[in-house]
């Protein structure tokens, strides 16, 4: 790829909740097609950071440019941006009063004004891609957690997003369902999607990450490619964290 602008450009980002500082001087770039995995102890600001990327939280100072659009509280382009940036939540957040198919079509139909037939065609294509085409007419409550999370991924894909954010996508799942979701994410990574994933699934990280990010107490402590990150991290704190989660 020729010299292209980064998809996500974070420069000196600070975020305060009242007096508490959740993000401290965070800088990071994510190129097109790059897969970034963010890990770190809970409360370290990982989720806050990626929630800033689609305007679910607003940073207090610093500069944040996503796909050429400057993000700040009250930005007019924020709704256009959100259509480009998909998000998958820890708790799935499917719409319980709509069927799986309706969950996938409501965004394209209402936000992008695509007609029903075409929206349903796209929806079925992506349900196929997350391996649950047969569940289209069920309600979310009738699906397992793993299936619900795959529907949530398909819901974001239906918006034809260019960036996908994952906020601990497997943390609320029963162990036997984690792999079915990770498999879909690996396939998505292989298709060339730009992805920022907050997760502690280090197997997944090893497989797909181009860049590993370790955060602690609102700061980025380490950014390195996965082979260096897992074998020889430069910070002591990161080494300790990895020892703890890789122990088993």
């Amino acid at each position: 790829m020729t010299q292209s602008k980064p998809m996500i450009e974070v420069t000196n980002l600070d975020k305060y909740y009242g007096k508490f500082q959740a993000l401290k001087n965070v800088s990071l770039t994510v190129d097109q097609g790059e897969k970034v995995v963010i890990c770190g102890p809970s409360g370290s600001g990982k989720s806050t950071l990626i929630r800033c990327f689609n305007g679910l939280e607003w940073h207090s100072s610093g500069r944040l440019v996503i796909d050429g659009i400057e993000v700040y509280e009250g930005a007019k382009e924020i709704r256009e941006l959100r259509q480009e940036v998909g998000m998958v939540f820890q708790q799935f957040n499917l719409f319980p009063h709509l069927t799986v198919l309706e969950n996938l079509t409501i965004g394209p139909m209402k936000v992008r004004n695509i007609d029903r037939a075409q929206a349903e065609e796209t929806a079925r294509k992506y349900l196929e891609r997350v391996h649950i085409p047969e569940q289209a007419d069920k309600y979310p409550a009738q699906l397992s957690g793993g299936q619900q999370q795959r529907v949530a991924i398909a819901r974001s894909l239906c918006m034809e997003t260019r960036i996908m954010l994952f906020d601990e996508p497997t943390s609320a799942l029963d162990p036997e369902m984690i792999n079915e979701v990770l498999d879909v994410m690996v396939e998505l990574a292989q298709s060339g999607m730009t992805m920022v994933v907050v997760t502690h699934e280090m197997g997944f990280a090893r497989k797909v990450a181009d860049k590993m990010v370790f955060m602690e107490a609102g700061q980025i402590v380490e950014v390195s490619p996965p082979d260096k990150f897992f074998t020889n991290p430069s910070s002591e704190r990161c080494r300790l964290f990895l020892d703890q989660i890789l122990e088993h």
């Binding site: 256009e80 998909g86 998000m87 939540f89 957040n93 719409f95 965004g107 209402k110």
Partner: protein
């Protein structure tokens, strides 16, 4: 053999419930006690009326429901009054929903001015008696803005009930998890789209039971507009009495008509609730 729905360790019968409890819970005794209580009340009313020499004339009541004369079938005063009460209540309720929704959205808007206006309105309405509110609308605002007693009654009922309705709507909207807002935002929905397609459809099942209560309350409080002589059920009842002096029969009948309407409403809505519960 125990008559409680749980079983003890195998082979060991559970202790039986105390004798008095079993005695009073048995069907014949319950029915008997119920009959005695109702009978006593009925007898008390009857002897009381006898004692004051009341002349019961129940046979004159049906003509106030309908009459068949030479000119054919005619509805009586009571059904006409009932229709007026229902029209008044439905109009007032729709208006109250509208005001309530606006107030609820103002409060949820997060704007300081919005919540201040909404809270001010709620506190004002909740702390003025309904009767005083009615007088304000009829004797003060009516002449000022030039509306009649019927409009004044609708406005009074709508404004009075919109306060509670806005709280019901707000609670229903708040009962939808914040994750739903975030999911809707993350696919690019605007606030109004999120309300329309995601939040309100899910709030309905939280709102239906308390809203039913509020409709029943509204129908009952609509009787108060009889003090400014709007021709609804209570007013017509009072008019019949001033013609016939049958206050006992007429007030009993009017009370039963209100009871029938509100009961039918409650039963109808409980069917609706079951439907929404199944759909989720």
């Amino acid at each position: 053999m125990s008559d409680i729905g749980i079983s003890g360790p195998i082979g060991q019968p559970l202790p039986r419930r105390p004798f008095l409890r079993r005695f009073f819970d048995s069907v014949p005794i319950s029915v008997l006690i119920y009959a005695v209580i109702v009978g006593l009340i009925g007898y008390g009313a009857y002897t009381g009326a006898q004692g004051m020499g009341y002349n019961w004339q129940w046979y004159r009541i049906p003509q106030y429901f309908y009459r068949v004369t030479d000119e054919g079938f005619q509805w009586g005063e009571i059904p006409i009054g009932l229709v007026a009460t229902i029209t008044l209540s439905v109009t007032a309720f729709l208006l109250a929903m509208l005001i309530g929704l606006v107030v609820a959205l103002l409060r949820l808007s997060g704007l300081v001015v919005g919540s201040a206006v909404a809270v001010g309105f709620l506190e004002l309405i909740r702390n003025i008696p309904l009767l005083v509110l009615l007088y304000l609308f009829y004797y003060v605002l009516g002449p000022v803005f030039g509306f009649d007693r019927y409009v004044a009654s609708i406005l009074t009922l709508a404004v009075f009930h919109s306060a509670l309705i806005s709280e019901i709507l707000r609670a229903g909207i708040n009962a939808v998890p914040t994750g739903q807002w975030e999911a809707a935002k993350s696919i690019g929905m605007s606030t109004s789209q999120t309300y329309r397609y995601i939040i309100l459809p899910q709030s309905i099942r939280f709102m239906l039971p308390p809203l039913t209560g509020e409709v029943v309350h509204l129908i009952k409080s609509s009787a108060i507009v009889s003090v400014i002589a709007v021709a609804e059920l209570t007013t017509l009842g009072r008019n019949i009495i001033s013609d016939t002096y049958m206050s006992f029969e007429i007030w009993f009948t009017i009370a039963l008509v209100y009871l029938a309407v509100t009961l039918i409403l409650s039963i109808g809505v409980s069917f609706l609730e079951k439907k929404y519960a199944v759909d989720q």
